[in-house]
């Protein structure tokens, strides 16, 4: 059995649960290690729960209950956003409602599930911009992607509450590796690190929820991150609004397509861990004007500067 650090790790299978022998540290530092853990535990979500248990701070029931709570917060944020909210600055708001009406008409070009994911992602980020309650996944600025995809998948795949909670553990497991080996902060690694990471997490979790193997989840994440590579963080007026809300929307759509590609058996020529390492390197090489300083990109357009002037009374 191949685990990262100790040769004495043993898993004893009992019933449907995988039991962990006492005194063994279960960890994963790479996607490769996570996939191996998941293959032994039965799923990525189960591996993540066991690693969390191993930290010793919470019982299994507490861990499950906490994630159930995170899910409830996401659910409420999506519902509130679809009802319609606007931010105090008026820069963003009510687009989730627009999209809901558009979907209801039924005359769309792409697909209903993708559009629902896009609608949910916008809803969440509009609530975030309006100082509403959200669950950061992995950050507040990228909070729309994972719930966006999850609630669209619930309708398409008829996911149970348990499967939805497991979706979040899987997303979190892939996110942990990305956060520790690259970054999930726009100030450190640009938007590729925030919405890129969120989209990769969502793609991997969706793949598992749809019945894919841990290896397929890994491929789905790699496919997403490769396309998000180099994405800059250029918030207009430094606010988590433009272009953040729409980038969450399109990140969610990419996660869906990547999951479908992986489920079709398409793999990534570059291993996922190397993709994450490349993303980290690109983040370091990225000029600081593109890392949440609001000094480049869309923030530095004539209109972007005007908006900043109107809100804060100072030029960009």
């Amino acid at each position: 059995m191949m685990f990262s650090f100790s040769s004495n790790i043993e898993l004893a299978r009992g019933g449907t649960n995988t039991m962990i022998k006492r005194g063994i540290t279960l960890v994963f530092h790479s996607i490769k290690e996570l996939v191996t853990l998941a293959e032994n535990a039965g799923s990525v979500s189960e591996a993540m729960i066991q690693v969390e248990l191993q930290r010793g701070n919470m019982t299994r029931e507490e861990i499950w209950g906490q994630m159930d709570h995170q899910l409830s917060v996401m659910e409420k944020a999506v519902a509130r956003g679809i009802e319609g909210v606007a931010s105090p600055t008026g820069l963003t708001g009510n687009d989730a409602t627009r999209l809901m009406h558009y979907i209801e008409k039924g005359n769309f070009i792409s697909g209903e599930t993708i559009l629902k994911a896009v609608r949910n992602a916008i809803a969440t980020n509009e609530v975030n911009a309006a100082m509403g309650l959200v669950c950061a996944t992995p950050t507040a600025g990228s909070a729309g992607v994972v719930p966006g995809v999850l609630f669209a998948a619930r309708d398409q795949l008829n996911l149970t509450r348990e499967q939805m909670i497991r979706f979040l553990f899987t997303a979190g497991a892939f996110g942990l590796v990305t956060a520790n080996n690259a970054s999930i902060s726009g100030a450190e690694g640009g938007c590729q690190a925030e919405i890129g990471s969120a989209s990769g997490m969502a793609a991997a979790a969706l793949t598992e929820a749809a019945g894919g193997t841990p290896e397929m989840s890994s491929a789905a994440m790699a496919i997403t991150l490769k396309n998000m590579m180099g994405l800059i963080c250029d918030p207009v007026a430094g606010l988590v609004e433009v272009p953040c809300v729409k980038r969450n929307a399109l990140g969610a759509s990419q996660a869906m397509i990547s999951a479908d590609m992986a489920l079709a058996g398409i793999t990534s020529a570059i291993p996922t861990d190397e993709v994450i390492a490349a993303m980290y390197k690109v983040g370091i090489q990225m000029p600081t004007i593109f890392k949440e300083t609001a000094e480049g990109g869309l923030a530095d357009t004539p209109t972007g500067r005007d908006i900043k002037m109107k809100i804060f009374g100072v030029d960009a």
């Binding site: 993540m48 100082m131 509403g132 309650l133 997303a171 956060a179 430094g238 804060f312």
Partner: protein, 222 residues
């Protein structure tokens, strides 16, 4: 590379009022810690904002979050967005002063609380992902992240003060994880920051306050 994130809830979480983990959730946590140190509702609040906080505090709701924290709100309290109105209704005089001064961290705020003769001045920074650091209390340079149960003690710099505090904790079965002591000058006012493992320490705080050279003792955890 060292692992900075350990729990799945570092990634799927925290639950918070938007829009920014550093500018909103972190700011609320700073406010809450400052309130805990002060121990009561202030009559007057003056907040100096530095660098990124100074430039974007309104758009990010940093002002609202700081005041929410001072009213004892958690970062996920749904009443947080109404904190400024709530403070006004409570008769608290609130003032924000954005400054051009350079701070040790881009997201910093100096919070001054007043009530009658009682005054507290704290410098806090939001260091990312909702995590915070308190760097100064009443002119004392400290380093406190407030992610572990923490006791903050203001005392007279006299021999035996530290031993007496340690004895109280020992008698109450409280384990000290880390401890930091700082003073203004020999014999002058001094400060202790003690991180402990236990969460039930009200009895210890009461006993400490019986010690003559202890001026103030507060406890908080996040």
């Amino acid at each position: 590379m060292g692992d900075r994130y350990h729990s799945v809830f570092d990634i799927i979480g925290p639950i918070m009022v938007g829009p920014s983990s550093s500018h909103t959730a972190g700011a609320a946590r700073i406010g809450k810690v400052v309130r805990k140190i002060f121990g009561t509702l202030p009559e007057k609040v003056t907040i100096y904002l530095y660098e990124s906080f100074a430039k974007t505090y309104q758009g990010h709701g940093t002002d609202i979050a700081l005041i929410g924290g001072l009213l004892d709100d958690e970062p996920d309290d749904p009443r947080l967005p109404q904190s400024l109105e709530r403070a006004k209704a409570l008769g608290i005089d609130v003032q924000f002063i954005p400054t051009d001064e350079v701070a040790e961290h881009p997201n910093s705020a100096k919070i001054v609380l007043e009530k009658g003769q009682q005054k507290l001045e704290v410098l806090g920074c939001s260091i990312g992902g909702g995590n915070i650091q308190i760097s100064e209390v009443n002119g004392f340079k400290i380093k406190m992240q407030a992610n572990q149960p923490t006791i903050l003690i203001v005392h007279q710099d006299l021999h035996g003060a530290i031993a007496k505090v340690a004895t109280v904790l020992a008698e109450q079965g409280i384990n000290i994880a880390t401890m930091m002591v700082s003073r203004k000058a020999k014999g002058d006012e001094a400060i202790m920051v003690i991180e402990v493992d236990e969460k039930e320490i009200d009895a210890s705080i009461e006993k400490m306050l019986e010690i003559p050279m202890i001026h103030q003792a507060s406890f908080f955890q996040s």
